[in-house]
């Protein structure tokens, strides 16, 4: 079974521009929808409140791993750690990595998230239960939002 997510997207923007959007904490927060408290520093936690309406009480947290300018940015986190009453810190995190490559039209960005084999079974079961209704509605909200603010 596949236990890694990998996505590649071509961006019509130079590598330097994409690097800034990924690693400047304010720019990252714009598209990722999180109000980070400070800059990304390798080895240090990055945290901030989600800016998605209705979820402002949720704190997003990651630990920055690698920052190789215009090449690689990675952090570890707990995917979907959105329940404020749960302490996720004891659970093994997954690794998120962005890799940038220059192409004639701009930048090829490859995203990987790995380490799902360590995600606790009960978390996956929750995702399964939540998949009905709630998640479908949330996806619609996101699509509407993106369509309104392209």
């Amino acid at each position: 079974m596949e236990n890694k997510i990998e996505k590649t997207i071509k961006l019509n923007a130079p590598v330097a521009r994409v690097w800034r959007a990924l690693t400047d904490y304010r720019e990252f927060g714009e598209w990722f929808r999180v109000a980070l408290e400070g800059p990304f520093v390798p080895g240090q936690p990055a945290r901030g409140h989600i800016t998605w309406p209705g979820y402002e009480h949720v704190v997003w947290q990651a630990i920055v791993q690698k920052m190789e300018p215009e090449r690689r940015f990675s952090f570890t986190w707990h995917p979907y750690a959105v329940d404020p009453s749960v302490n996720y810190s004891s659970e093994p995190p997954t690794l998120v990595e962005f890799r940038l490559e220059p192409i004639p039209t701009g930048t090829r960005l490859t995203l990987t998230e790995s380490g799902f084999e360590n995600v606790p079974a009960h978390r996956r079961a929750e995702a399964f239960r939540m998949n009905d209704g709630g998640w479908t509605q949330q996806m619609k909200n996101i699509e509407t939002h993106v369509a309104q603010k392209p």
């Binding site: 079974m1 996505k7 997207i9 979907y80 329940d83 749960v86 084999e117 079974a121 399964f128 996101i142």
Partner: protein, 115 residues
Amino acid sequence: MLPKSHKRARSPRPQQAILFAALGDDTRLALMAKLVSGKPASIAQLGVGSSLTRQAITKHLRVLERAGLVHSVRSGRERQFAFDPRPLHAMQHYLVRVSQQWDQALVRLKSFVET
């Protein structure tokens, strides 16, 4: 990028994921392959055509049971073991959800850097 808020029900099951560990073994995969194809089977039936001892099969089945991939039911004097696909479905749904959220985030990133 967020799922609907929910009430958390603490599972009595072990906290650590053991699904991948359970599947990461050729012997257990072979046992699974026998069970996936159909009816529940006893330890004796699972041992047909293999060199595994009864004890070894029992041990491997226990690992699969802990991962929720196999459930046993008593049938007369013997226990029968049946495949349960639900943990695999849960894993699949989880990854699909994570994957969809990344799709949406990357769409936002694209419009962010291209405008």
